[in-house]
């Protein structure tokens, strides 16, 4: 699948943002005054910034409100609802922390549940697709959730939880690589089943239906940069999990968290790039390409 920069930025930044908001909602930590303003502001900026980045790849973003209408069937619509609900529920908690209003923590806890739900709906947009076997496994939800946990805990300065988050993310990434590499074969769709010509014999492309790539090929078939996949997997794993894990073992300081967060984001962006670039859509079978 084509790794669109806007979608990669959206899923990584908003995932981290919702993670940070969830920890703040739980009161871990519960800063006051300007510190609260800075923390909540960062969470909102990431979550909202990510969401608006996602509208960049729409053909007609001015109609984006219509995307709220089909929550009964569409995970994308549910994501829109969950994201807005989360941001609204967190708002009084954020104001309470900033201005010392003393509103009950329950609001923040409810927001945290909604934040997790939001990231879950995002992951379901990909995990539901039978057409992309690499995504069509529960590992996809695991990936999105562990990145939310790791990113959110690093940004909120929860060192111990961040260690767990990094370990979980590493496990999810390794599982995603191992299971994902076999997924297309397991789905058992071939150029033969795609055309039904397997009932006659071995099928291969004789001539393509058009001379230059179309929307389908640009969007669903991405071969070019996969040759560096092994190196990029190491970078993803090292930067998003291993290095942050080691840094978090050092004596904590705000500067250390800033460095750790930056390194983690680079790793997370690389991992998400691979998530798209390595995913193969069955439509590629018609073109003899994956």
């Amino acid at each position: 699948m084509h790794p669109a920069a806007s979608v990669i930025a959206f899923t990584v930044l908003s995932g981290m943002g919702f993670g940070l908001l969830a920890f703040l909602g739980l009161g871990l930590p519960a800063p006051e005054g300007w510190m609260a303003f800075f923390h909540w502001g960062l969470g909102y900026a990431l979550a909202v910034g990510g969401l608006s980045a996602s509208t960049l790849h729409l053909g007609n973003p001015q109609r984006a409100l219509k995307a709220f209408s089909q929550w009964q069937t569409s995970w994308l619509s549910r994501e829109a609802w969950a994201a807005v609900a989360t941001l609204l529920v967190f708002a009084p908690m954020a104001l309470s922390d900033i201005f010392g209003l003393g509103l009950p923590r329950l609001i923040g806890q409810l927001g945290a549940v909604l934040a997790v739900l939001t990231v879950f709906t995002t992951s379901m947009i990909y995990a539901q697709l039978k057409t992309v076997p690499r995504w069509n496994t529960p590992i996809t939800q695991g990936l999105f959730f562990s990145f939310m946990l790791a990113g959110g805990s690093i940004l909120s300065g929860n060192g111990k939880i961040a260690l767990i988050g990094c370990a979980l993310t590493a496990a999810a990434l390794l599982a995603a690589f191992a299971i994902g590499d076999k997924a297309f074969g397991k789905a058992a769709q071939t150029i033969g089943t795609a055309t039904g010509l397997n009932r006659i014999g071995a099928v291969k492309v004789f001539e393509q239906p058009h001379t230059s790539p179309n929307y389908l090929m640009r969007e669903m078939i991405h071969i070019v940069a996969r040759k560096h996949a092994d190196k990029l997997r190491l970078i993803a794993l090292g930067f998003s999990c291993v290095l942050p894990f080691l840094l978090l073992l050092l004596p904590a300081s705000p500067a250390l968290y800033a460095v750790t967060a930056t390194i983690h984001v680079i790793g997370a962006l690389t991992a998400r790039w691979l998530f798209f670039a390595e995913a193969e859509h069955v439509v590629g079978l018609y073109y003899g390409q994956r």
Binding site: Q70, Q128, K130, A194, L197, F206, E207, N214, Y215, Y286
Partner: protein, 243 residues
């Protein structure tokens, strides 16, 4: 609404006969022409070095090697199959994609489409292409603006691709009616579904190429090449053959 109907009154769709299709691309052109003047189907850089555009029907060509005998070339038209359990419909966040209860046609309401592309991701058959100029999703409409169009002469009230096909490799009809031409063709010729394991229940069916009635060992031109020499040449041929 992007909930799929549990039942449709008719099941309109196409039968594509891979035995008679010669891959002439006439259906590609007719489809593009009809829909370009109807709903609009933009091209980008059509006469330049890197032409591209939205099409609702594409014709592939495959080489199939049976266990025995020589390989076969099979032309393979590919357009929306108007699936009964269409995965492209429920993923749509706006309600732009829907399946009609009356005839099972899967359509996009362009005024509601935000161009998110998720439906194209969900379709296994590559039947949806984004119109890069309009920013909305395009797909085969089963020529819904022809088949019910009373302004057209009766013989033209069928899809443009069906109407134009010079070898009648495309047939249009109602699969819910067991006595329809398309239902009979499917029953007689063993019409099949594409990627049935994905459980999309396509309405469109493909008819497999018929079995060859004789083994195709040599070139079809072989009888013409095997010219018996006569007269002096014949005598020379015989003599030289004996040496």
């Amino acid at each position: 609404m992007t909930a799929l109907p549990t039942h449709t009154e008719k099941k309109l769709g196409l039968v594509i006969d891979l035995d008679t299709c010669v891959g002439c691309q006439a259906c590609v052109t007719a489809c593009k022409g009809w829909n370009d003047q109807g709903q609009g189907l933009s091209d980008q850089n059509p006469y330049g070095a890197d032409p591209s555009g939205a099409f609702l029907n594409r014709v592939h060509t495959y080489q199939v090697q049976p266990e025995e005998g020589s390989a076969q070339i099979i032309a393979f038209p590919r357009s929306c199959l108007h699936c009964e359990d269409a995965p492209c419909v429920p993923v749509c966040p706006t309600g732009a994609s829907y399946k009609r209860v009356e005839d099972g046609i899967v359509l996009v309401n362009e005024d509601a489409c935000i161009g998110c592309g998720l439906c194209a991701w969900a379709c296994p058959y590559g039947a949806r292409e984004m119109d890069q100029a309009a920013g909305v999703m395009k797909k085969c409409t089963l020529c819904v603006d022809r088949i019910y169009n009373e302004n057209l002469p009766e013989e033209d009230r069928e899809p443009a691709c069906v109407r134009t096909c010079p070898t009648s490799a495309r047939h249009f009809g109602d699969f819910a009616d067991p006595d329809s031409k398309v239902s009979k063709l499917v029953a007689e010729r063993g019409g099949y579904d594409l990627m049935p394991d994905l459980k999309t229940k396509p309405t469109n069916k493909y008819l497999p190429p018929r079995k060859k009635d004789r083994p195709q060992e040599a070139s079809l031109l072989a009888p013409l090449l095997d010219i018996k020499a006569t007269g002096f040449a014949g005598w020379l041929d015989k003599v030289l053959g004996k040496i």
